[in-house]
């Protein structure tokens, strides 16, 4: 680092932050927005909006932003004269608030301007003037430089923006699930009224949406798949990892080659076979087919077993243990992370599985799983009447799984990294 650092304050960054803050201040006197030559600067907009009386929460943003800019610039000037780490911290907080406000202006302006009508004609984002864009850029530069001044990681800015983007659809579905007004098309983000009826309807309106039934079906499938698949995967991986027999490598190669064909290429044939043995359109067939293919997913579990030292098996064999005893008394107890990982993934699988159930169950709605049912609800004929119920249903499926997943995240990572701690 070439810049001088005094008392933990980066002087070069402080200078940049101060200059950017000044630019912000100047930009409030530049044309903020204008429709057809009728341009106003930020102060004029702020007072016009407040003066109209029907500003509301978003309308007060303009004045709030303007005041924040002044305070922030003043902070910058003060800290330029008398630097202190605490002062910069306060400055960062004020500047962060200002940056959020400035960003919100980008999204809120059209609504506010059109409602109040301070411009003649509709306002569009392209009507923002140089003042606004300069303000927006300078806000972020000031924040970034101010954070760097006292070595706060500027990555927080990126993380906050990314988090907003990532959580946006999730927030939308949560809000929709509690929305009182039904319908797919609504012209606003935040619902006008909140209700629990969407959840209630899912379970009471059995004639149209037997959601409780769907949920139970999926739960039953998940439980059985989970037990059978875990046992099969553990047995297969154990044998392929810990024992050596003729045709072991051949078997692994065959499974690898089969795995390269797209799974549902053979769906039609499987369906015909199920029909032949009289099991089409049943939940049992889903469990059986899933268990039948479970062994193909042995890779990760075998990778874990491979990391258990072989000497343990050898010692046990010398002591007269059979392979079965080694499996149940040594390998299994040592493999908690991978067992939990396997249980977790095979339990979650059926909740999201769509293609095969749709093929096997066809139009037998009583046997639908949640994935099929919810997809059925978003059909273009139904989406308008059932969109809020769809959201509520999605939430009921996702929340338990997300909680399960987050609690067991540790095992997820450990299971993938092997039994030997580095």
């Amino acid at each position: 680092m070439k810049e001088k650092t005094i008392l933990g304050i980066n002087l070069k960054q402080r200078k940049i932050a101060f200059i950017a803050a000044l630019v912000m201040l100047i930009s409030t006197f530049l044309p903020f927005a204008g429709v057809r030559g009728d341009t106003k600067m930020l102060w004029a907009v702020a007072f016009a909006v407040l003066g109209s009386g029907e500003a509301g929460f978003l309308g007060s943003l303009y004045l709030a932003a303007a005041i924040c800019i002044v305070i922030s610039a003043a902070c910058g000037a003060f800290l330029f004269a008398k630097p202190s780490i605490k002062g910069v911290r306060v400055w960062i907080v004020i500047q962060a608030v200002e940056t959020v406000f400035a960003t919100m202006l980008l999204f809120a302006s059209k609504g506010v301007f059109d409602r109040i009508g301070i411009f003649t004609g509709k306002f569009m984002a392209k009507d923002f003037g140089i003042g606004f864009w300069l303000l927006l850029i300078a806000s972020y530069v000031t924040l970034h430089a101010a954070m760097k001044t006292i070595k706060v990681h500027p990555g927080y800015i990126v993380l906050v923006i990314l988090s907003v983007i990532w959580l946006f659809p999730i927030l939308w579905i949560i809000l929709t699930a509690f929305r009182a007004e039904s319908g797919y098309y609504v012209g606003y983000f935040f619902p006008k009224g909140l209700t629990l009826d969407n959840f209630k309807n899912l379970f009471t309106n059995d004639a149209v949406i037997p959601f409780g039934r769907w949920w139970l079906n999926t739960f039953i499938i998940a439980i059985f798949t989970c037990i059978l698949n875990t046992i099969i995967i553990l047995m297969t991986s154990y044998v392929l990892s810990r024992t050596r027999f003729r045709s072991r490598v051949t078997l692994m190669k065959i499974m690898m080659i089969i795995g390269m064909f797209p799974g549902f290429m053979s769906m039609v044939a499987v369906y015909n076979i199920l029909k032949g043995i009289g099991m089409a359109q049943t939940l049992v067939s889903l469990i059986i087919v899933s268990a039948a293919g479970a062994a193909m997913g042995y890779y990760i579990c075998k990778g874990f077993f491979d990391t258990i030292p072989k000497s343990m098996d050898e010692a046990a064999i010398i002591d007269g243990a059979t392979r079965w005893q080694i499996f149940t008394r040594i390998t299994i107890p040592l493999s908690k992370p991978i067992i939990i990982y396997t249980i977790l993934t095979s339990f979650i699988g059926p909740w999201g599985d769509y293609i095969f159930p749709s093929m096997v169950l066809g139009d037998k709605q009583n046997s639908y799983t949640v994935a099929l049912g919810l997809k059925w609800l978003t059909d273009f004929q139904r989406i308008d009447s059932y969109y809020t119920q769809f959201a509520a249903g999605s939430l009921l499926v996702s929340v338990p799984i997300v909680i399960l997943f987050i609690c067991l995240q540790r095992f997820y990572v450990e299971g993938l990294s092997g039994s030997v701690k580095g």
């Binding site: 993380l159 990532w166 999730i170 047995m235 290429m265 076979i273 392979r323 293609i355 987050i406």
Partner: protein
């Protein structure tokens, strides 16, 4: 001295009369050496197979040559003087029965080899004056040295019945004309050789005009989706793991949330959000960014860009989670010495983090690439292959990948022969990339390395 068991020809020349006899009568050698039950089981299985072949197996195989000759239709019945519905042959069932018979026959050959080997082992034990293990000993062995037979029996049967038989059936279908016009039981279909492959790759046919653009988009999608998620996830992981960031767990959880939600839920939600009157378009207009709805999923080019971006939303957290673990394993001294030498964050990334990461994650990257070629969920739930175009064959759309096209061909237009052909093409693509991976990755070749 124990003789080497050798292959079955050596067994034949070396063995006594009973060993030779057991080539025809299974278990003969076992019974003579005292393994009564085992020998009888072998014999029963052989008799069972012969009965099956005589009753229906031979007939099944013979029918497979023509796939049926008697078409369903009205036949004049002289005796009662009216037209009667005649059942006709069902090509699909004939093919399925034929495949089952073939697989049973393969299993029978394995049984043959196994019975000969088992007889030879018993003979050698007898020769050395040892006691050949009885049936109970064999059962006990299942828990010990033969545990693989016990543990693998269920998985192998499952895979044969529900994966291998259907797969052979579908592969064979690629060489028939089982399309929308040849649907059993009303119509017969028959063998056509390589015709399907030829029409698919010909540039003049409409099918070729669909196949090549879809193949191109599949490859493009695979690479872009794979690498964008890879670099995006790496960037996010590096950011969250860097020294100055607090509340690492909170940040990680926020992003992992999208990964934990079942993919079909998040994709369906996002797809409804991106619709013409979905919330994104509503908001964009409310914010004054656009004056009309944007064709996120209805214009070919827009839709392609949209699926790639939405895929980032889902794929980045997955990569982040995986990369986080590896990042922590990079020796810290490397970074310290780089810092002393005056390297900035970009140089550190290019010279240290990225090469290290690439070295470890190459297998993951290629597996991920292959799974992206076959990324059914994202395309199906988001666009369903739309926008469809008249330039393409029956309902295929601009964002269709080979897999989603395959799905449409089976589910909607019932062109099973084309679907099977495309399945084989997908297999070839996956195989090529897998071969590259296996030839480059030492970890997979040397599986004993760790033990």
């Amino acid at each position: 001295m124990k003789e080497k068991r050798g292959n079955i020809f050596q067994i034949f020349t070396r063995g006594d009369i009973f060993s030779k006899l057991s080539f025809v009568i299974f278990g003969c050698s076992n019974v003579v050496r005292g393994q009564m039950i085992k020998g009888l089981i072998y014999l029963c299985l052989e008799i069972g197979y012969i009965v099956f072949m005589v009753q229906s197996g031979v007939h099944n195989l013979a029918e497979m040559v023509t796939l049926g000759t008697q078409q369903q239709g009205m036949v004049f019945n002289d005796a009662i003087g009216i037209y009667e519905m005649s059942q006709g042959d069902n090509s699909m069932l004939i093919l399925l029965r034929g495949v089952v018979t073939l697989v049973v026959t393969m299993a029978f050959i394995l049984l043959w080899v196994s019975s000969i080997r088992s007889g030879e082992t018993a003979r050698q034990l007898k020769l050395n004056n040892k006691h050949a293990p009885g049936f109970l000993d064999d059962l006990r062995g299942l828990l010990n040295e033969n545990i693989h037979s016990l543990f693998l029996s269920v998985p192998v049967i499952g895979i044969v019945v529900f994966t291998i038989i259907p797969l052979i059936y579908m592969i064979l279908m690629a060489f028939t004309n089982y399309d929308a016009e040849h649907q059993p039981p009303g119509n017969l279909f028959t063998w056509v050789g390589l015709t399907n492959f030829k029409t698919l790759i010909s540039s003049t046919d409409k099918l070729g005009a669909t196949f090549w653009p879809i193949l191109g988009w599949t490859l493009l999608w695979g690479f872009v989706a794979c690498f964008s998620c890879y670099f995006g996830g790496m960037f996010l992981a590096i950011l969250i793991n860097s020294k100055g960031i607090k509340f690492k767990k909170v940040w990680r959880t926020i992003f992992i949330m999208t990964m934990a939600i079942p993919a079909f839920v998040s994709l369906l939600v996002v797809s409804t959000m991106l619709g013409k009157s979905g919330i994104i378009n509503v908001l964009l207009q409310q914010w004054g960014f656009t004056s009309g709805p944007l064709p996120f999923l209805t214009n070919g080019t827009w839709a392609k860009a949209t699926v790639i971006i939405v895929n980032l939303w889902i794929g980045v957290p997955a990569t982040m989670l995986m990369v986080s673990g590896i990042l922590m394993n990079i020796p810290g001294e490397l970074y310290e010495s780089a810092q002393i030498d005056g390297a900035g964050p970009i140089v550190t990334f290019v010279k240290i983090t990225f090469p290290y990461m690439l070295f470890i994650t190459t297998p993951y990257l290629i597996t991920n690439l292959i799974s992206n070629f076959n990324n059914f969920g994202v395309i199906y739930f988001l666009t369903g292959g739309a926008p469809s175009t008249l330039d393409y064959y029956k309902g295929a759309g601009k964002t269709d990948l080979l897999v989603t096209w395959l799905y449409k061909l089976t589910k909607d237009s019932k062109d099973y022969n084309l679907a099977a052909t495309i399945g084989i093409v997908i297999f070839l693509i996956s195989a090529v990339f897998s071969l590259i991976m296996y030839s480059r990755s030492g970890a997979l070749k040397n599986e004993e390395g760790f033990q």
